[in-house]
């Protein structure tokens, strides 16, 4: 697909993508936008100027584009998202059937097309609840080996259900927000007896490379979402860094799971990529042959239930030297987002528009494919960076960038950068 708008060939936001987000720019208040090439199209401005005149179905809903979150747009449901995305693709095609809408409308281009460099992005949805799954089989295995050895690496439940925990919604931030190293309780000497914790900045600060899906349409309390309908309850996907304080986690997590180790920040990309845009990249997940042994409420019709999206983790030190420290792929998941949603709601749990489902850390099986630093270093075997320095965990001043992009040059469907810089722990007067 070619556009009359100049779109760099390596842009994650090709005409094949059209992801949705929330921007503010030029002193205007927050509004819904899409990203295309190096620009955001402000859909509130676009709608106010009659940009959607050729799409009658959206006319009753134009107010959603002036909202400060995507919740109202998402709640309209997948058929509407599909119409709007395809309409916008048609508007931007080189052979657009509606040249008068934008291609030959210089004043509206000037008003509504804003360079991404001038845009402030915001967390795209008001997140009611954020659930983090553990569907990255290789990650679960790698971490299990570190804690329990290879024979008992995976718990008995792992291949029967997508393990998950509720996580913290309030501290989900958008790409670019700096992250203060958290303070907390750690064991200075984990093998000493009795175990006595110290108050300290986290010394084992880590990343987790994940995808995360936003819920669009809700289900009522007591009424599960069927695996066959689950995909239509998902609005789209972002890239996510679930920052993790491994030393705080190791001390606090028995018996109820991680808490303070995760609640200080989670970074997501600001542009939500619709499932329709990912559709061409469907792929079989891990061990599709085992799916027949799943309980029926988790069985999907298609084996190709995850997506082939190359992912990478880049670490840049305070001096500005960058190193790619891991390359992975989103197909390294044992469970799909529809399976996660079906499992989450099988008890009758109600989901709302804006609820966020993290995939869990996405690791490959080979060295250099792990989505967390812990898996690479085990806290002792350093990663060598391009500048000759080493990392066992993150240091103050480090900037981590996650990237994920499917497809081929000129037609990439990607998330954009998921960026966070580590600032020193805040000194507390206690």
């Amino acid at each position: 697909m070619a556009s009359w708008l100049q779109i760099p060939k390596n842009s994650p936001f090709s005409l094949a993508n059209i992801p949705f987000g929330i921007i503010s720019a030029r002193s205007a208040s927050r509004a819904v936008a899409i990203a295309i090439g190096d620009y955001a199209l402000n859909l509130n401005t676009f709608a106010s100027s009659g940009g959607f005149a050729q799409l009658p179905e959206i006319q009753p809903h134009l107010s959603v584009f002036g909202q400060p979150t995507l919740n109202a747009f998402a709640a309209l449901g997948r058929p509407v998202h599909r119409q709007v995305r395809e309409y916008i693709q048609n508007v931007f095609r080189v052979d657009t059937p509606f040249p008068q809408v934008l291609k030959e409308n210089a004043p509206l281009q000037k008003d509504a097309l804003v360079p991404l460099s001038e845009v402030t992005n915001h967390v795209p949805m008001q997140i009611g609840d954020y659930t983090d799954f553990y569907a990255g089989l290789n990650h679960a295995y790698n971490v299990g080996v570190l804690f329990r050895g290879p024979d008992n690496a995976l718990q008995p439940n792992y291949k029967h259900l997508p393990v998950a925990y509720h996580s913290r919604a309030s501290s989900v931030v958008t790409s670019g927000t700096p992250i203060h190293r958290p303070n907390g309780q750690i064991l200075a000497n984990p093998t000493a007896t009795p175990k006595v914790p110290a108050f300290s900045p986290c010394k084992r600060l880590d990343i987790e490379l994940e995808l995360a899906a936003f819920v669009s349409t809700p289900n009522d309390l007591g009424h599960p979402v069927s695996i066959n309908n689950a995909e239509d309850h998902i609005f789209g996907v972002v890239l996510m860094n679930d920052w993790s304080a491994r030393d705080i986690q190791a001390w606090e997590y028995v018996p109820l799971g991680p808490f303070n180790a995760k609640n200080f920040a989670t970074t997501i990309t600001p542009w939500v990529v619709l499932l329709d845009a990912l559709e061409p990249f469907r792929s079989a997940g891990l061990e599709p042959g085992d799916r027949d042994s799943l309980l029926p409420y988790l069985r999907e019709k298609r084996a190709a239930n995850v997506y082939d999206i190359p992912l990478e983790v880049e670490l840049t030190n305070e001096g500005g030297k960058s190193s790619v420290i891991a390359k992975s792929n989103a197909k390294n998941l044992l469970y799909s987002f529809p399976q996660m949603l079906a499992h989450h709601t099988i008890t009758g749990c109600n989901m709302n528009p804006g609820d966020l489902l993290g995939s869990g850390t996405i690791s490959g099986t080979e060295p250099g494919t792990q989505g967390s630093i812990l898996e690479q270093t085990n806290g002792k075997n350093p990663i060598k960076l391009a500048d000759g320095s080493e990392r066992i965990f993150l240091e103050d001043g480090d900037t981590v960038v996650l990237r994920g992009m499917a497809g081929t040059e000129g037609n990439y469907v990607g998330f954009g950068d998921c960026v966070g810089k580590i600032l020193p722990a805040i000194k507390l007067d206690i």
Copy 2:
């Protein structure tokens, strides 16, 4: 304190209480109200008719009483809550200094005082995040004995930090909402190898008797709430039943904690009792002598950091026969709400108005004082009910009522009933 309004001597809503909630009644939309005796006072109606004319400080904020949640009122901060509560107490005193406001204003009494029997209650705050702690030492010990024996009942971290997990905000419901028994994965034979789950309605459905605190004023991401200020960030307290599916929990909870076992419903009382109303009932928590060994960020100035509130659990079968199956007390907590908040935010985690903090199950040490059925029966030793029947866990048709009331006759400060009836599991077409 005596009132000109007739207040039953056994009412939890004496003039000493004045809890806040959200009601709808008489076809009016949701509004803020207080409960007093057998009535709710609609504060939106009251404010619109000049009821607050004698309280100049609240004049700029009167719109908060017309909101559908307490979030805006809570965000005004503790000094404002205190002024409003004390003003309302003055309005209702038999020797009110403002008799013209309500005592001698029959039309406003007719408009704004609604019998509780005609009121619909709603979840009082929009809950952003709900965190459930595990601060009931005796509960943690009792459950630990069942799982690991008496020598290792408590994990090494237990007396150093208030253990917690993030829980599910969307499924918090108000007292009276029926609860469908959840479906899920359970082990039909937990000791068989390999472990193979079955899909089934939960067979071990339980309660958890808890208090829960709502957050009022927020803190910014990266900026912990000091233990010395934490109390002023708490709006008030409700009674909570954290329904628990023990068989689903036993299978799913390793390694990341309870998930589906808790996400199907949590019931709270609709009236938020302010900390000021609980102030006369301050009491030392469990093991106050050990507090000096806590890390400084958790050390409170006062040993009397919890509340002496008698609690009880009543079970009524489908036939209508009631039995009190447990009596406990809110002072059976090792950590206070300010300590929970200080720990929750020590990493920099941001809290918002409406965030909910559960205490964890509140059990005593003697038989008949346990806040969960699991602790009483261990899944095999039945509780005998008044009608001669027995319970190992909850049965369909059972209604559970939690109650909590501090003080003495005529001056009770209580929560009202926290009620939930168990409906059969929904039959699913899978």
